[in-house]
């Protein structure tokens, strides 16, 4: 174990860095340095400072005063830097985007969770600082949701949201929406209604709009407000057609709406579309199961219309004089 860095060392080192942030670096406590020394075998991340300086570091923690504590690779001293001086943290994560996406698309959610969870567990508290891990964490969150681990989603969301509360960037909004969706899945309608009410609407151009549309539609469906739900589903489909994660849900619910409003051919067309665009999703399977029912309703509906038409024709036959021929503007 190396001795803690002396004040002189810190000052000298600061001179080497062409930035003012170094001047703000504080000498950390002895205990922290000892702890840091234990962890210094491998650098955890590369920090890029606003002044372009780059350090290989292990993160030790953060303070309530808005600073990040770190130990530089090969050194035992612990440094604190204000968050505003940090441009990016690149964590050394051995994660393969392509592979993770492939697993996710193949619905191997547990594998995605397993791959991401362990290396990112300690990173949640740094999510408010620009970094390369957030995308993975959000992918894990979505995997948890699709794996129906709703309680875990809620817990993770709350952990994510805590450090992000002051920033409220896209990760915060996504976590908030994922939490709402999980609560909705657990049937906690009133609570989610309040949460959605408090939230600002998400702009349709925002990639998170699909989640918002979906949760709004879910909320309205929970109160049997089909019409309003359909409005949100339609927006999900119209504006989120490249979101292959949520689009199937929008399509399925649109199909249900058209089915409910007796637009059976439209509903059937959507089931066919889902067979292509949402293949292998649960939504597509549900749509496939719904198809025979829609077909039979369509048949019955056509028969009813035919009968009504015939009856109206018979009625006209009986009393042709009852046709209202009063001149109107449209004449």
């Amino acid at each position: 174990m190396k001795a803690p860095a002396s004040l002189l060392f810190v000052v000298l080192f600061a001179l080497l860095l062409p930035c003012r942030v170094v001047a703000q670096a504080n000498r950390a406590s002895l205990q922290e340095n000892i702890q840091a020394g234990k962890e210094r075998d491998k650098s955890q991340a590369v920090i890029r400072f606003q002044n372009k300086g780059k350090w290989e570091v292990n993160l030790v923690g953060r303070t309530s005063g808005g600073t990040l504590k770190m130990r530089r690779e090969g050194q035992s001293g612990v440094y604190e830097y204000p968050l505003k001086d940090i441009a990016l943290i690149t964590f050394n994560l051995e994660l393969d985007d392509v592979e993770l996406n492939a697993l996710f698309n193949a619905k191997k959610f547990k594998e995605v969770i397993k791959a991401i969870d362990e290396p990112t567990r300690d990173i949640l508290r740094y999510m408010d600082i620009p970094n390369n891990a957030n995308a993975y964490i959000m992918q894990m969150l979505r995997s948890l949701f699709w794996d129906k681990q709703y309680e875990e989603v809620i817990k993770t969301c709350e952990n994510i949201m805590r450090p992000l509360r002051t920033v409220k960037g896209p990760e915060f909004v996504e976590a908030e929406l994922m939490k709402i969706l999980s609560l909705q899945a657990m049937g906690k309608t009133d609570l989610t209604a309040r949460m959605l009410d408090k939230m600002d609407p998400v702009d349709r151009k925002d990639p998170l709009a699909t989640l918002w549309f979906h949760s709004m539609a879910t909320l309205h469906l929970s109160t049997n407000n089909w019409r309003q739900a359909a409005e949100f589903n339609a927006q999900l489909v119209a504006y989120g057609s490249k979101d292959f994660e949520w689009m199937p849900a929008g399509l399925f619910r649109s199909m249900e709406y058209y089915d409910t409003t007796t637009n059976y051919p439209v509903a059937l067309q959507i089931t066919e579309e889902m067979d292509i665009v949402a293949q292998n999703t649960d939504w597509a399977l549900q749509a496939f199961d719904a198809r025979p029912g829609i077909e039979s309703r369509e048949k019955a509906w056509k028969a009813k219309l035919k009968a009504e038409k015939e009856s109206a024709a018979a009625e006209r036959e009986k009393s042709p004089g009852k046709i209202d021929k009063t001149p109107t503007l449209l004449d």
Binding site: D97, V98, N101, A102, N105, R204, A230, E231, N233, A234, Q235, V237, A238, Y239, S241, K242, F244, S254, Y258, N263, P265, V266, Q269, I270, E272, E273, D275, I276, V277, A278, Q279, P320, G321, K322, I323, D324, K325, T326, P327, L329, L330, D331
Partner: protein, 925 residues
Amino acid sequence: MKISDVRKLEDWRRVPVLMAARKFPEAIQLIDIAVPIFRKYMDQYPQFKDFTEDSIFNRALCIHEQEQFDQSKEAFKQYLVQYNRGRHRKPAVILWADAHAAKEEWEDVLKVGGRVYKEITLNLRENLAVYGLMGEAHFQLEHWEQAIEPLYWTFRNGSGDERIGAATYLTICLVRLKEFKKLYEFVPFVYKTPARYDLGLQMALVEEGDEFYDDAKSDKALLLFRLVYKKSELLIQLDALLNDLEQNKRRMLSAEKTKAGQTLASKARRYDRSIKRAKEQLVELKEFEDYDQEIDIRIGNCYFELKRYLEALYTYHAIYEDYPDDELAQQALYSCFTTAFAMKDIDRALHHAYEYVDAFPPPKSAFWDTITLNIATIHVEREEWQKAIDIAEKAIKLKPDHSVVDNMIYIAGYSHFQLSRIIKAMKKFEVIFEAHPRSQFLQPAQYWHAQGHLFEANYTPGREELLEFVDSYSIGPLYEDAYYRLGMAFYGEGDFTNALSTFQAFVGEFPESILRSEAHAFGGDILASWGDVHLDTALEQYKLGVETAVTMVQTDYATMAMARLFELESNHEQIIELWSSYLIKHPEEGNFTEAIYWIGASHKNLNNWEKALNTFYDGVVKYGDDPYLYGIDMILRDVATEFENLPDINSPTFDPSKVDRANMDLLLSLKKRLRDEMMSAGKQRRLTLLMRLAALFYSITSEGGSDAGILSAFMRESYITNAGPISLVMMGREAAKRGNMDMANRIYDHFLEEHHSSDLALEALKGVAEAKMEQGKFDEAAVYLADIANRFATMEDAAWANLRLADIYTKKRKFEAAEALYTLVASVKEWSGEATPEALYGLGQAKLAQGKTDEATAYFENIYILYGGGYPAWGVKAYIARARALRKMGRTDDARTILQEMVDNETLAKMPGAKEARDLIAELR
């Protein structure tokens, strides 16, 4: 071996080092020196055979690394010719293919690649290189089907960019092959990588989508169009993709520099090709016209065609929001309107139509004419007349050369007509006559213009125009209608003979007409007006009116007319029979509560009080809670009169011999039953019934009684909608009595809005007019007074309304109008009565106000001479008014004389104004 050769070969050992340092020309130089030596001593040194082979391969590799592909192709070929089964056979073949690929000689890549597959076993890495190249070659040659297998294999077995590249090509192939299911298997993967921004992929999506779109296969087109990225986004992303590729290539080179000579060059080359492709795409994309809005419009159209209207609507609206200044924004917003219309969501359609009108006024508006016409038509259909007028006028004002200007003028005229602004309407129709004589709206304009005359009671010009119309157009629904109206015009002119014959001819010509019932009813009215001899024929006509009625209004009119005829003949049994059969046919529609009233009233006239009062009671209890059933109010009014006339048995003047005790008991019993019913209606929350009965008891009890209290409890805004007409009238009166004129106004406004066809509408109109006058809102009051004067012209209430109107004119010093009305009231026979002295008094006051005191005294004199006996109150007023006028003229003695004359009159001296007269006499002395 010669020493010099040995030295040369020592240099040869530096070849790998030079190659690693990418010093390829130097390496080739050493190889070229070494190879002849190896060949020379090959027999002596067997290992030189291998050295020769290595050197020939390395030489080819060095050429290849210098990107001299024409030469490297030859060099690898030479190597393979010499070393058919050589040690470097596999990389040589791969790099040979790679050289062809670098020269974009895709057919050759396939030839070489195919040979590899026939003859050589490759490991995974080598396979990826060769198979990847073959996939790319097939792709470049647009062998979409053949490309799939190698690309799919590369996608499954490759890694990183290799995989993404294969997926991109594969996706394009699937788009080109229209293999939707397989396409969407890949798309979720590709669309999570930068490959989604590949212009080739985007162009494939657009081109294939267009093909489906043009073939009206909206479902398929939609699947492709939805994947297209916008140009603006692509430009940014292609730039980023280019940077990524360059960065990845550098990373790959630095990571794999130690493996030079195998697949590195090929990999780098593939990067280069991708970079070149991205650069070309970027240039190509920049030259493209903007297609973003066009694609979105097409997506919207696809949704529309598939009847997925909500999705279409949101898609269209986003175009307008995102590109408000673009040419297509107008089309998009217009499409929002048509989509909402197709959804039958007319409110939404109107919302978007007005959005368009506000956003794109002429001259930049492409759909102005169509959209304004549609808006106006919708308003007409919804009977939103003022809105129809506003949009029609705005449409023409902002675009005088509107393509359907005649239609818009006609709509404005028709709407004015519906708002009873007949003169304005007629003026609009006249514009069509003059400016658009060939318009298809000329005929209806002529029809409505003639109708306008009838509405304005100008029957002669109306009749003339209708005659001309009937002569000009002998077919169509307007002809039929005009024919009928012609009968009405004759009727209006007082030419009843022609009117009757026209109605009869109408019935003959149009036996199926929906107006037939009305023609019969009019005929009945004419015949009935000709006296007793024609009553039977009139009755026949009314019966035919009932039989041919197609609406409840027609049934009700003819039935009511029959009932009145029976009433004239005091034929109460017939009335009961008539309304009973009405109730059988229409148990709960039309005037069924009026029927109940008539039946009850007829029983009463037949002195069958028990049946009468039971009928009333049952009707009230059963239907009294519906404010729109006006027969209940008629019953309650009748009952109120009976209750008021009940003698007070506790009074000392009560004479039992003068009353029918049984009937009185029945009435008292009814009173009790209705009071009980009022209490139970309260408990059952039958508010309308409760309020009706409260109004009944309020009207027959003195102020401050408990019943007044019940009505008072309902003197709140929230109860107005529950109240039926009789309750509203009472509430209005009560509010006015309390001085709460705002409340009174609100009550009467609600009455006239909701219950204008009630028999009590007159009461409400009078109430509101009085309330307005009380508040000094004379202009507003004048509107209601004029309405009363017009709607109830034959009733005394019209005289009252005209007098109040004249009073207002006097106040406003519009003496000419005031005097005309006073004169009118004084001259109408039907209004003779108290209204006449009042009118004369008004005339006198008007003259006084103008300083014409002498003329005024003449009117006052006329009053007490002609009407003083019949209407002593007016006599007193006239005496006093004349005396004051005379005093003003300085004729004090004359003033005192006439006042003395008044107080000497026994009747007048007892009138309330007599004291004022006596005081004035004292003053004059």
